[in-house]
């Protein structure tokens, strides 16, 4: 028997449809504006869009940051915008397809993933996300590739920061101590868009339990600091590009990774037990071009090229 939808699910579904409709309308009618936004690597300026991606390093006051000046450095591949717009999958379709394609290679139990399955997962993700990902980067790999992630709290970004200054998911609270790498920046005035996004989209990984930690901790500490990763919920095909912003969780928690409130929300893991099994891969992004935040649907045309 089909599950009865809750009030929230019904309303969310209904409003999501309306949102998609309004967005499609905009893209259809404002082709010139969309083209210009694309040419500047700026997405439809969704002031409140949780998918807002910023990667510039200019210093901005906190209020301006929170006002949502969105810049989206997309991978710079020449695309035909008309075609891309016409044939773009909705986010829902994109996630569904990604989940379907990943599913055969994701193990039942947590741990590392080897051989053909590892290769297939990386290939599938590269195809959908449009950037290179791997479980082993420069000789470094985590103890788990597929594991439980838990819902973390916000982190202090600068001295004097508090929960009220975080613009989303305040319900998560703020961790009493600093993250493993301290403040993200020295002051509110010095906070860049990049710092802001690092806290918004951070994950915690168990660096302390790495076998080489006992003799190589300084190098590992530096290597993992704000290392760019992508966390994927294979159940629903959602993925978020994030940085390693904290160490943990402790083994006794039964979880191996942690996700910031925004990461967990994007992965659909913010409700119930607030945990879920996810894949975590390094993003090979030497030039720092891959934007932090949830990944967006590629056009059919771009998917077909891959």
């Amino acid at each position: 028997m089909a599950k009865k939808l809750t009030k929230f699910e019904k309303l969310h579904r209904c409003l999501k449809k309306r949102h998609a409709h309004v967005k499609r309308d905009f893209e259809k009618k404002q082709l010139h504006a969309v083209k210009w936004l694309n040419s500047k690597n700026v997405q439809l300026p969704d002031l409140y869009n949780s998918t807002a991606r910023l990667l510039t390093t200019g210093t901005l006051a906190g209020t301006l940051l929170l006002s949502g000046a969105v810049q989206a450095p997309i991978i710079k591949t020449p695309i035909n915008h008309e075609l891309a717009l016409k044939d773009t999958l909705t986010d829902e379709e994109f996630h569904k397809k990604l989940a379907q394609d990943l599913n055969p290679y994701v193990p039942d139990s947590i741990g590392k993933i080897y051989g053909e399955n590892q290769k297939k997962i990386c290939d599938t993700l590269e195809k959908y996300l449009g950037f290179p990902v791997c479980f082993n980067l420069e000789g470094n790999e985590l103890n788990y590739f597929y594991a439980w992630t838990g819902y973390e709290q916000h982190l202090y970004r600068f001295p004097g920061d508090n929960l009220a200054q975080h613009d989303a998911e305040q319900i998560a609270g703020i961790a009493p101590g600093l993250g493993a790498w301290g403040y993200f920046t020295s002051s509110k005035q010095a906070m860049t868009q990049e710092d802001y996004l690092k806290e918004k989209y951070y994950v915690a990984v168990q660096t302390l339990y790495l076998p080489e930690w006992r003799y190589d901790s300084q190098r590992l500490y530096n290597w993992y600091k704000y290392r760019k990763v992508v966390m994927i919920n294979p159940e629903n095909g959602t993925a978020v590009v994030a940085v390693v912003g904290d160490a943990g969780p402790a083994n006794w928690t039964g979880k191996q990774f942690g996700g910031s409130p925004e990461v967990m929300k994007e992965l659909g893991l913010q409700d119930g037990w607030r945990k879920g099994k996810v894949l975590l891969l390094f993003v090979n992004d030497k030039d720092n071009k891959i934007a932090l935040g949830p990944t967006k649907a590629l056009s059919m045309e771009r998917l077909a090229q891959k």
Binding site: H12, R18, H19, V70, Q71
Partner: protein, 114 residues
């Protein structure tokens, strides 16, 4: 507990009033987290709709400079004044399209009770 609207305002918020939608949504009785999740979606939808309205009325050659300014300072009240110089009755158009969308959102909210 009062569910707050804590998001920053864009320049067009002086023309529209989202409180009615907010009050309507409160009546659904969602918990705070779900309420905010739905509210995010509503705000995004309003935002796109208003941008669409503005761009539809603004001469195309002015689109780029508007988008650049908006991208930099979305909250700047001067934006509205500048737009009004270029577009007759812009406030009225923004208000009308907001009201149209507001009605649709009310319907969405009411439909879930069916």
């Amino acid at each position: 507990m009062e569910k707050t609207i804590s998001k920053p305002k864009a320049f067009y918020h002086s023309v529209i009033d989202v409180q009615k939608i907010h009050s309507h949504l409160k009546k659904v009785g969602l918990d705070e987290k779900k309420h905010l999740q739905v509210w995010d979606l509503i705000e995004e939808t309003i935002h796109i709709k208003i941008l669409d309205t503005i761009l539809a009325k603004l001469p195309e050659k002015k689109h780029q400079s508007f988008l650049e300014k908006f991208h930099k300072t979305p909250h700047d009240p001067k934006l509205l004044a500048e737009l009004e110089k270029e577009t007759k009755d812009l406030k009225k158009h923004i208000h009308e399209s907001f009201v149209e969308l507001e009605k649709e959102i009310f319907e969405d909210i009411e439909n879930i009770a069916v």
